[in-house]
C-alpha cells in the first residue's frame, strides 16, 4: 500500500480545482448535502403536515407522488431530471441544481412520512384539548402539536442527512465533481492505487457521517433522560 497518492492529491480530494476552478471534492459533497438537507427538511415538514391536514383525493395524489419518489432509484431520478426534463419541458437545470433537486425530492418524500408519523404519534387528546380551548385546527398544530412533535423528529432529520451525504456520491453519473467523482478521476490518472484511493474516500465519508451519527444519538438520548 502506498498512500503518497493521497497526500500528493490532497487538495484536489478536498476542494477540487478551487480556487482556480469550480469548487469540488469533499467540500462540494458537504455543500450539496447541506443544501439538499435543508431543502428536504423543509419539504418533508410541509408535505408531512399536508398528509395530516389534507383529506380526500388530494391526499391520495400526494401519497402517490411520495410513493413514486420513494420507489425510484436515486440514479434514475438524477438521469431523469438532468437529461429528460430539458427535452420534455424545455427547462434547463444546471447539474448542481439537478443533484440538489433530486436528492431533496427523495429526502423530502422520506421525511414527509417521518413527520406524519411523529405528528400522529401524539395522543388524539392533544388535538381535542386544543380545540376545546377554542383554537383553530392550524393553531393547534402550530402551538401544541409541532412543539412536541418536532424534537422527536430531529433524529430522523439527521439520519436523512447522513443518507444524503452518501447519496451525493451518485452525482458522479452526470459529471458533478464531488468527492467520489474526483476520486475516480485521480484513480483513473494514477491507475495503480485504486485500493488506497477508495479506502481514503470511504474514510472521509465515514468521518462526515459518523460525526453526524454521534450528534443524532446524543439527541435521541437527551430528551429520553430529561422526560
Amino acid at each position: 500500500m502506498d498512500f503518497s497518492v493521497i497526500s500528493d492529491n490532497f487538495s484536489y480530494f478536498m476542494l477540487g480545482a478551487w480556487p482556480n476552478g469550480p469548487l469540488g471534492g469533499a467540500a462540494l459533497t458537504l455543500l450539496l448535502s447541506l443544501l439538499s438537507g435543508i431543502i428536504s427538511a423543509l419539504l418533508g415538514l410541509v408535505l408531512g403536515i399536508a398528509l395530516v391536514m389534507i383529506r380526500g383525493k388530494m391526499r391520495w395524489l400526494l401519497l402517490g407522488v411520495l410513493g413514486f419518489l420513494r420507489a425510484i432509484p436515486v440514479v434514475m431520478l438524477i438521469f431523469w431530471s438532468y437529461f429528460l426534463l430539458p427535452i420534455l419541458f424545455k427547462v434547463d437545470v444546471p447539474a448542481l441544481a439537478t443533484v440538489v433537486c433530486a436528492l431533496s425530492l427523495i429526502g423530502g418524500a422520506y421525511l414527509a412520512h417521518s413527520v406524519y408519523a411523529g405528528i400522529s404519534s401524539l395522543p388524539a387528546g392533544q388535538w381535542a384539548a386544543g380545540t376545546a380551548l377554542g383554537l383553530g385546527k392550524w393553531q393547534v398544530l402550530r402551538l401544541i402539536i409541532l412543539p412536541q412533535a418536532l424534537p422527536m423528529m430531529l433524529p430522523s432529520f439527521l439520519n436523512q442527512w447522513i443518507s444524503l451525504i452518501k447519496d451525493t456520491s451518485l452525482a458522479y453519473v452526470i459529471g458533478v465533481g464531488e468527492l467520489s467523482f474526483v476520486a475516480t478521476q485521480i484513480s483513473n490518472r494514477v491507475m495503480v492505487h485504486p485500493t488506497e484511493i477508495f479506502l481514503f474516500v470511504a474514510l472521509v465519508y465515514f468521518v462526515f457521517c459518523s460525526s453526524l451519527d454521534l450528534i443524532a444519538n446524543r439527541w435521541v438520548r437527551k430528551p429520553a433522560q430529561t422526560r
Binding site: N20, F83, I87, D92, M191
Partner: protein, 268 residues
C-alpha cells in the same frame, strides 16, 4: 389575432425546439462556449496533476474554437455514454471527446469535418493473445456508450462483453484479471498505456478492427455553428496549428509518439 400568433409561435418553438434557436448567437451573447470533453483519457482530455485543469488534444481544439468565436471556454467533464445526451438535452454546445462519426449518431447530432482518425485496437497482457480469434472466447472490457462495443459484438460475437463507465475502469479490470482484453481506439489505448507505471507487462497487438474518424459533436440542426467549427478546423490546418496541436500530444518527443496519418480535410 395577436394572441393567436403568439400562441402559434410558442407551440412551434416547443414542438420543434429549433424554431427560435440559433446556438451561435446564444453562445456569442452569453460569451461562453460550453464544451464536453473527457477527463480521464490522456492525451485527449485529462485532469492535469499540477494545474488541476482538464487538458489535452481535444481541449486544445476546443480552445481554438472558443478563441475563434471570441468567447470564454467552459469545460464539462463527460464519460463516453453521456456525450449524445449532453448534446440532445442542450447541456453543452459542443462535444470534443474522441467522438467517432457514425451514421446513427449523425441522426441525433451534427458532426463537423473530421479532425482525427483512429482505429479500434486492443490491450492485452503481454504474450497472452496469439491470434485474434482467441478474443471470441475471452472476456473483453469496453466503455459504455462507445462505437467500440458494437464493433466488438459484430466482429467477435463469442466474446463476453463487460462495459464500464470509462476506459481506465476497464483497464483496472484488465490489470485485476477480471477481463482478458480491453478494446478502444488505438491512440487512446496508447495514451493510456503511456501513463501506466508497469506498461511493460501489456501490449497493443498490431491489428485494427475498424477505421474511425473523430469529429466535433454539435447540436442537431445548428448549421451556422457547424459552419464556424468546420471553418476553424480548416484554418487550423492551413495555418499549421493543427500540426502543432498534434505534435504537442503525439509528436516524437512526447510520451506517446505516433505518426500523423490523417490531416484535416483529407479524404478518408
Amino acid at each position: 389575432m395577436k394572441k393567436f400568433t403568439a400562441l402559434t409561435a410558442l407551440t412551434l418553438a416547443v414542438l420543434s425546439g429549433l424554431a427560435h434557436a440559433d446556438r451561435l448567437d446564444d453562445i456569442k451573447k452569453s460569451g461562453v462556449l460550453r464544451v464536453a470533453s473527457f477527463d480521464s483519457n490522456p492525451p485527449f482530455g485529462f485532469v492535469d496533476a499540477k494545474s488541476k485543469q482538464i487538458e489535452g488534444l481535444d481541449v486544445d481544439y476546443a480552445k481554438a474554437i472558443a478563441d475563434k468565436l471570441g468567447v470564454k471556454l467552459q469545460l464539462q467533464p463527460t464519460n463516453p455514454a453521456n456525450r449524445v445526451p449532453l448534446l440532445v438535452a442542450n447541456k453543452v454546445d459542443l462535444v470534443l471527446a474522441n467522438f467517432t462519426i457514425t451514421p446513427e449518431r449523425a441522426e441525433q447530432v451534427n458532426f463537423s469535418i473530421p479532425y482525427f482518425a483512429s482505429g479500434q485496437q486492443f490491450i492485452v497482457k503481454k504474450g497472452t493473445l496469439t491470434s485474434p480469434d482467441e478474443l471470441n472466447k475471452w472476456r473483453v472490457g469496453v466503455d459504455k456508450g462507445t462505437v467500440n462495443e458494437g464493433v466488438l459484438r459484430e466482429k467477435f460475437p463469442g466474446a463476453k462483453v463487460v462495459a464500464y463507465d470509462d476506459t481506465p475502469f476497464a483497464f483496472t479490470a484488465l490489470r485485476n484479471g477480471n477481463v482478458q482484453a480491453i478494446t478502444q481506439d488505438g491512440p487512446k489505448l496508447i495514451g493510456l498505456l503511456a501513463n501506466v507505471p508497469d506498461k511493460d507487462k501489456y501490449e497493443v497487438p498490431p491489428f485494427t478492427i475498424s477505421n474511425d474518424l473523430i469529429g466535433v459533436g454539435i447540436p442537431k440542426g445548428e448549421a451556422r455553428l457547424t459552419e464556424v467549427v468546420n471553418q476553424t478546423l480548416t484554418d487550423l490546418e492551413a495555418q499549421g496549428k493543427a500540426q502543432g496541436i498534434y505534435d504537442a500530444w503525439f509528436g516524437p518527443t512526447t510520451k506517446t509518439p505516433l505518426t500523423r496519418l490523417y490531416k484535416i480535410g483529407d479524404k478518408s
